[in-house]
C-alpha cells in the first residue's frame, strides 16, 4: 500500500459515535486531568479555565457535527498543534535548566492540555473519543509526576472512575447493548481494581533519578535578624532553648537551638514537619554539638565567623567546602540527593544527609560551622523547598573495623596526619568520669591508653545499651547540680535518645575515641504513593557521630537501628494492611464470620438436596450438548433431548439412547439398574459432558466421519469416485438414448 493511501485511510473519519455517555466520560476525564494538573501547580488557573471551556465547547461541537465532520477542522487543529509545539520547544529551550524533565513539566502540562482541548473539536467517531480518553492519561501523568500530596488521590479516583465509565460506555456502544448493566459494570470495576492493586504490589519501588533538577524555593521566609544565628521560621526571631515545660520548641523538640539541654523534658507531637524525597533513608542531620558541660551540649565554634566557620555568598547552588575535621569522601562514595519540602516553618537550619556537598536553596547566604552545621541567611517558612546533594561514603563495617586510631600521647592536640584538626574538641570532658570510664573500659575492653578499634567500641557500647537501658520519654527532670550522664548510667538507666547518645559520647571520649552529639531527624515514614519520607515532630532524634581515620564522621545510633532498606510501596501497603488487621478485634469478628459462614452453609445444605443420579445424568448431558451447540430446549424432556442429540451425534447415539433409557426406566418404571449399568451410564454422561469436544476432534481426525458438504466441496468417498469414473461412458450412452426416445417417465429413486 502506498504511503499516501495509508495516510488517507488512517485519516478517514470513522462512523459517527452516537453514545452520549461515552463522550461525556471522555470529556470529563480530560477536565478532571486538567484540574488535577492545576491542583499540583502544573497549570495556571487561566490555562485551566481555557482548557475546560475549549473541551466542553469542542465536545458539544463534535457531537452536533458528528455525522458530517468538517474537514477544515483538521487543518486548524494541525496548525494549533504546531503552534503548541513551537511554544513548548521555545519555552523549554529558554528555561534555566534546559533538557531536564522537571523544568519542562509545567510547559508540558500546558502543551498536553492545549492538544487535548483542541482535539475535542474533532471527535466525531469512537476512535477519536478513545484517543481523547487516552490523552487524558498523559495529562494525569504530568500532574502526578511531581505531586507530593495525597490530595491528588481524589483526582486519581475521579479520573479512574471517568475512565472506567468511558470504557464501559465504549463497549456498550460498540456492542449495541441496552438496559441496566450495574452488575457487569461492578464486576469489571472490581476486577480491574484488584488487578491494579496486584500490579502495584508487584511493581518495584520507584527510584529517584539522578537526572532530576534540584528544586528550591523560599516561601514565607524572612531575613534572619541575627545573621548566621539560628532563628525559628515564622518571624525570623532567634530561636532559643525553650523552658522545660514549654511546648514552643519546634514540633515540641527543644534541640534545634544553639544548645541542647538534656535536663529538660518535652513531648513530641505528630505534626508533619517536612517531607523528604531521597534516594534512600538517612539521618537528616540538623546540628552537631561538640561541647559538653555535664548537662548541656553546645557548639564551641562561633557562628558568626572565626575558626572553622565559612560564609558562602555564591548563590544557589552552593558548593559546600570540606570542613577541616572531615575526611574527603572516597571515590566509591555515591551521591545522595535529598529534597526537603517544609510543611511548617522551621529553624534556618539546612538539614542534610552526612557530607553535604551541594545545596540548592533560595537564600542570600549560607553559613557553615566547623561542626558541619549549615544555616541559611533566611528563615524557613512553610512551603520552602531546598535540595542537598551529599556524598555517602558507604563505609562498611569491615572497613570501619580496619580503621584503627593511632596510639597517641595524651597531650596530643591534633591528628593532623589523619585530618582531624581539633582532636581536643571531640575528646574533651568537663570533668573526670571515673565510674563512666570504668564502665566503658569494662564494656569495650579498651582504655584511653590501650586503644582499641573505635568500631568495636561503638558496637559494644550499642550492644550494652540495648541490653542494659530502658527507653522511655517519661522520665523525671534532671535534679539540679547532677551530671546527666552519671545519673543516667548509674541511676535509673531509663531515658531516651538524648540521654543514651550523650552517655555513649561520653563513654567513647573517655576511651579516647573522638565523638560528638548530633541532632536532626530520623528518615520518617515512607509514603509509597507520594514517594516521600514524611517527617513528623516525633521523628526528631539525637545520635552519635564517631570519627574514623580515612572515613571521617560516621553516624551511630545507640538508641535504635536505622531502617535497612527502601521498602517497595506494595510491601508498605501490605504492612499497613497487616497492622490494620492486627488492630481488629479478632475474637468478635471471628465469631461473626463463623456464624455467617455457618448460616450460609446451613442454607445451602437445605437448598441443595442430594442430587439423584438420574438428575446428574440429565445435567451432564445438557452441559455436554450445550458445548456442542445443542443445548436442551425449554420444555424438552430428557428422552426427546437424548433422541435429538443422538440424531446429531451418531457416534454417541447408542450410548445416549441406553443412558437415557436407563434413567427413564429407573425414575418412572422403578427399574433400578445394575451397579455396572449405573456406572456405565454415569461414566458416559460425565465423559459426554467434559471430554466431548476433544474426543470428537480426535475421532473426526481419525475416521473422517464428519464431512462438511458446504462451500463447493463435494462429499464423496474415493470408492464412489472410482465407480463413477468407470461407469461414465455407459451412462453417457444411455443419456443419449433418453433424448432420442423423447419421452420421460416419472419415477422415484426409491423405486429403483
Amino acid at each position: 500500500m502506498k504511503l499516501g493511501q495509508w495516510i488517507a485511510q488512517a485519516n478517514q473519519p470513522g462512523p459517527p459515535e452516537h453514545s452520549v455517555s461515552f463522550r461525556l466520560a471522555a470529556a470529563l476525564s480530560v477536565v478532571v486531568a486538567a484540574t488535577a494538573a492545576w491542583s499540583q501547580g502544573e497549570l495556571g488557573p487561566t490555562v485551566l479555565a481555557v482548557t475546560i471551556v475549549l473541551t466542553v465547547t469542542g465536545n458539544l461541537w463534535s457531537w452536533r457535527r458528528r455525522a458530517r465532520p468538517w474537514v477544515g477542522v483538521k487543518v486548524i487543529l494541525a496548525l494549533a498543534a504546531v503552534a503548541g509545539f513551537t511554544w513548548f520547544i521555545s519555552t523549554a529551550l529558554h528555561s534555566a535548566n534546559a533538557g531536564n524533565i522537571t523544568t519542562i513539566e509545567g510547559p508540558l502540562a500546558v502543551l498536553f492540555a492545549w492538544i487535548l482541548s483542541t482535539h475535542s473539536f474533532d471527535v466525531p467517531a469512537r476512535r477519536d473519543i478513545a484517543y481523547s480518553l487516552a490523552g487524558s492519561a498523559a495529562l494525569m501523568a504530568v500532574a502526578a509526576a511531581q505531586s507530593i500530596s495525597l490530595t491528588l488521590g481524589l483526582y486519581v479516583l475521579a479520573w479512574s472512575a471517568c475512565g472506567l465509565w468511558g470504557l464501559r460506555a465504549m463497549w456498550r456502544s460498540m456492542s449495541g447493548l441496552t438496559g441496566s448493566a450495574w452488575r457487569s459494570n461492578l464486576l469489571a470495576t472490581v476486577v480491574s481494581v484488584l488487578v491494579a492493586l496486584v500490579v502495584l504490589v508487584l511493581l518495584p519501588a520507584p527510584r529517584v533519578s539522578t537526572d532530576l533538577s534540584f528544586p528550591s524555593t523560599a516561601q514565607n521566609s524572612n531575613p534572619v535578624t541575627q545573621p548566621a544565628g539560628l532563628s525559628d521560621g515564622a518571624s525570623g526571631l532567634p530561636a532559643h532553648a525553650a523552658p522545660a515545660q514549654g511546648h514552643n520548641g519546634i514540633g515540641g523538640f527543644l534541640g534545634f537551638a544553639s544548645a541542647l539541654d538534656t535536663g529538660t523534658r518535652t513531648e513530641l507531637g505528630n505534626e508533619l514537619i517536612m517531607r523528604v524525597r531521597a534516594d534512600r533513608p538517612n539521618y537528616w542531620v540538623g546540628e552537631t554539638f561538640d561541647h559538653w558541660n555535664g548537662q548541656t551540649w553546645s557548639q564551641s565554634f562561633s557562628r558568626t565567623g572565626g575558626e572553622g566557620t565559612a560564609v558562602l555568598r555564591t548563590g544557589s547552588p552552593y558548593q559546600i567546602p570540606l570542613s577541616r575535621d572531615q575526611v574527603a569522601p572516597a571515590s566509591s562514595a555515591t551521591s545522595d540527593i535529598q529534597t526537603y519540602y517544609l510543611a511548617r516553618s522551621g529553624p534556618n537550619l539546612v538539614f542534610h544527609a552526612d557530607n553535604a556537598q551541594e545545596v540548592y536553596i533560595d537564600s542570600r547566604a549560607l553559613f557553615l560551622t566547623g561542626g558541619d552545621t549549615i544555616t541559611s541567611a533566611e528563615s524557613m517558612g512553610s512551603g520552602t523547598i531546598y535540595t542537598v546533594v551529599s556524598a555517602d561514603s558507604n563505609a562498611t563495617p569491615d572497613e570501619l573495623t580496619g580503621a584503627f586510631l593511632p596510639e597517641l600521647p595524651a597531650s596530643a592536640q591534633a591528628l593532623p596526619v589523619l585530618g582531624l584538626a581539633n582532636l581536643n574538641r571531640y575528646l574533651a570532658l568537663p570533668h573526670a568520669y571515673p565510674r563512666v570510664t570504668a564502665l566503658a573500659e569494662r564494656i569495650t575492653g579498651g582504655s584511653a591508653t590501650h586503644q582499641i578499634n573505635p568500631y568495636q567500641a561503638v558496637s559494644r557500647i550499642n550492644g550494652w545499651m540495648a541490653t542494659h537501658v530502658h527507653y522511655s520519654t517519661d522520665i523525671p527532670p534532671l535534679p539540679p547540680g547532677q551530671d546527666a550522664v552519671d545519673s543516667f548510667l548509674f541511676g535509673t538507666r531509663t531515658g531516651y535518645c538524648e540521654q543514651i547518645s550523650t552517655a555513649t559520647v561520653v563513654m567513647l571520649r573517655s576511651l579516647g575515641i573522638p565523638a560528638r552529639e548530633t541532632v536532626g531527624y530520623v528518615p520518617g515514614s515512607f509514603n509509597p504513593i507520594t514517594d516521600l519520607y514524611d517527617v513528623q515532630a516525633k521523628d526528631a532524634h539525637a545520635w552519635v557521630q564517631v570519627w574514623f581515620p580515612d572515613y571521617g564522621w560516621q553516624n551511630f545510633d545507640p538508641t535504635a537501628d536505622v531502617p535497612a532498606a527502601n521498602p517497595a510501596p506494595g510491601k508498605v501497603l501490605l504492612g499497613d494492611l497487616g497492622h490494620a488487621l492486627g488492630r481488629l478485634p479478632w475474637i468478635p469478628v471471628g465469631l461473626i464470620v463463623l456464624a455467617a459462614l455457618g448460616t450460609i452453609i446451613a442454607i445451602r445444605r437445605r437448598r441443595r438436596r442430594p442430587v439423584p443420579w438420574t438428575e446428574r445424568i440429565a445435567v451432564d448431558l445438557g452441559e455436554g450438548g450445550a458445548r456442542r451447540g445443542l443445548p436442551r430446549r425449554p420444555g424438552e424432556t430428557l428422552t426427546h433431548y437424548g433422541d435429538r442429540l443422538a440424531s446429531h451425534l451418531p457416534e454417541d447415539a447408542g450410548e445416549l439412547t441406553r443412558t437415557v433409557a436407563a434413567t427413564q426406566a429407573a425414575l418412572y418404571g422403578g427399574e433400578e439398574p445394575s451397579a455396572f449399568a449405573l456406572e456405565t451410564a454415569l461414566g458416559f454422561a460425565r465423559r459426554f459432558r467434559h471430554g466431548g469436544a476433544r474426543r470428537e476432534a480426535r475421532r473426526a481426525a481419525v475416521t473422517g466421519t464428519y464431512r462438511s458438504v458446504g462451500g463447493g466441496g463435494i462429499p464423496t468417498t474415493s470408492s464412489r469416485q472410482e465407480e463413477r469414473s468407470t461407469a461414465l461412458p455407459g451412462e453417457m450412452q444411455e443419456a443419449g438414448e433418453v433424448q432420442q426416445a423423447g419421452e420421460v417417465q416419472e419415477h422415484t429413486p426409491a423405486g429403483r
Binding site: 438420574t614 445424568i617 420444555g635 428422552t639 418412572y668
Partner: protein, 340 residues
C-alpha cells in the same frame, strides 16, 4: 338419522378383576403377562388402523389411546377426510359394530337414546334402544344438533346410562363415543359449551392427506377395501380387560405432578381465556398411560404426558386467537418438565 343400530346391549362385562394396583405404583412382575397382552392389543389396533386410514398416524394414535383408556374422542375436522372410516375401523378392530348418529337440526333426543313404544305383539310397552346403545358410537357433526339433543347425548356419555320415561338403562361397556364437529363458525351450528367439550377426553384432527397419500386413498377407494379386510383384534371382553390393564400402568409422583403443573399452568397462560379443568389432569394421566402402553412401556414418562397434552388439553382451552394447539405448544415450552 341412525344408520346402524347395534345389537342389544351386551350384559355387564365379565368377571375381569383389576389387578388391584393403583396408578402410581409401578407394575409388578405378576402383571407382565397381562401387560404384554395389553401392549399386543394396542399395537395390533394401531397397525390395523394404519392400514385402513392412511397418512394420519397422529389421529390413529389418539384414537387407539382413546380405546385403551375408554376416553371419548372428539374429532374436529372438515367433512370427507376419513372420520367415518377411522371410527368404523376402530369399531371393527375392537370387534364391535359402529353406531352412527348423523347430527342435523331435526334430531330429537329420542332419536338417539331410543323410545318406548307399544308392542302390539306382546301387548306391552317396550323400550326400543337407540343408537347410543352401542360400544362405539360415532356422533357425526354434533354441533348441528340442537342443544337439547346434545345434552341428552352428553348425559349418556357422562352417566354411561340412559334414562327414558323414568327408567334407566345402562349402556354397554366399554363405551366409546367418537364425536365429530365441523369447524366452528359455519352456518346452522350450535356450538358445544365448554362443559360439554370437557366430557370428551381426547380430541384430534385428521387433516388433509399429502399428495402421495391422497393418491393412495384414491387407489384404495378411501380405505374401504382395507376396511373390509380388517380383522378384529379383540372383543368387548378383551377390550374391557385392556382398559383395566392400561389403568394399572405405573405413574410416578413426578410425572403426575408434571401433568398437574401443565393443567394448572394452562389457566394462567397468556392468551388463554379459559384454562383446563381439574378433570383434564385426570384425563391427561390416563391418556399418558395409554400412550405408554402404545410405546410398550409399563410406566409413564414425561414424554407420554407431552405427547398427550395437545389431544387432552387443546379442545378444553379457550384462547383469544382460536389457536389452542399453539397455546398447548407454548404451555409445553413454558412448563419445565422433570429434569431427568
Amino acid at each position: 338419522m341412525t344408520e346402524e343400530i347395534a345389537s342389544f346391549p351386551d350384559p355387564s362385562p365379565g368377571g375381569y378383576e383389576s389387578s388391584g394396583l393403583v396408578p402410581g405404583a409401578p407394575a409388578g412382575a405378576g402383571d407382565s403377562v397381562v401387560f404384554a397382552e395389553t401392549a399386543r392389543v394396542a399395537q395390533s389396533l394401531r397397525q390395523g388402523l394404519a392400514g385402513v386410514v392412511l397418512g394420519a398416524a397422529d389421529a390413529i394414535e389418539v384414537a387407539v389411546v382413546a380405546a385403551l383408556t375408554g376416553q371419548h374422542l372428539l374429532i374436529e375436522d372438515v367433512p370427507g377426510v376419513g372420520k367415518t372410516v377411522l371410527a368404523r375401523a376402530l369399531a371393527t378392530a375392537l370387534g364391535v359394530r359402529l353406531s352412527r348418529v348423523q347430527g342435523h337440526p331435526d334430531l330429537l333426543p329420542s332419536d338417539v337414546t331410543g323410545v318406548t313404544i307399544y308392542s302390539p305383539a306382546t301387548q306391552s310397552w317396550e323400550f326400543r334402544p337407540g343408537p347410543v346403545f352401542g360400544h362405539v358410537i360415532l356422533l357425526d357433526e354434533m354441533n348441528r344438533t340442537p342443544p337439547r339433543t346434545q345434552s341428552a347425548l352428553l348425559e349418556a356419555m357422562e352417566e354411561r346410562q340412559v334414562t327414558v320415561d323414568g327408567e334407566s338403562w345402562a349402556l354397554p361397556q366399554p363405551h366409546l363415543v367418537i364425536g365429530t364437529q365441523n369447524p366452528l363458525g359455519q352456518l346452522g351450528t350450535y356450538p358445544l359449551a365448554e362443559s360439554q367439550l370437557d366430557r370428551f377426553g381426547l380430541s384430534t384432527s385428521i387433516g388433509y392427506p399429502d399428495a402421495p397419500t391422497e393418491a393412495q386413498l384414491v387407489i384404495h377407494h378411501g380405505g374401504r377395501t382395507a376396511l373390509a379386510e380388517l380383522v378384529p383384534v379383540t372383543d368387548p371382553l378383551g377390550w374391557e380387560r385392556t382398559i383395566a390393564s392400561t389403568a394399572t400402568v405405573g405413574v410416578s409422583a413426578v410425572v403426575a405432578e408434571y401433568a398437574v403443573a401443565l393443567v394448572r399452568a394452562s389457566r394462567s397462560l397468556s392468551g388463554v381465556r379459559l384454562g383446563a379443568s381439574p378433570r383434564a389432569a385426570i384425563t391427561l394421566i390416563s391418556a399418558a398411560q395409554g400412550a405408554a402402553v402404545l410405546a410398550g412401556r409399563p410406566y409413564v414418562t414425561p414424554d407420554d404426558v407431552q405427547k398427550m397434552a395437545a389431544p387432552v388439553l387443546a379442545h378444553r382451552l379457550l384462547t383469544d386467537d382460536g389457536h389452542s394447539d399453539q397455546a398447548v405448544r407454548r404451555l409445553l415450552v413454558e412448563t419445565p418438565p422433570p429434569v431427568a
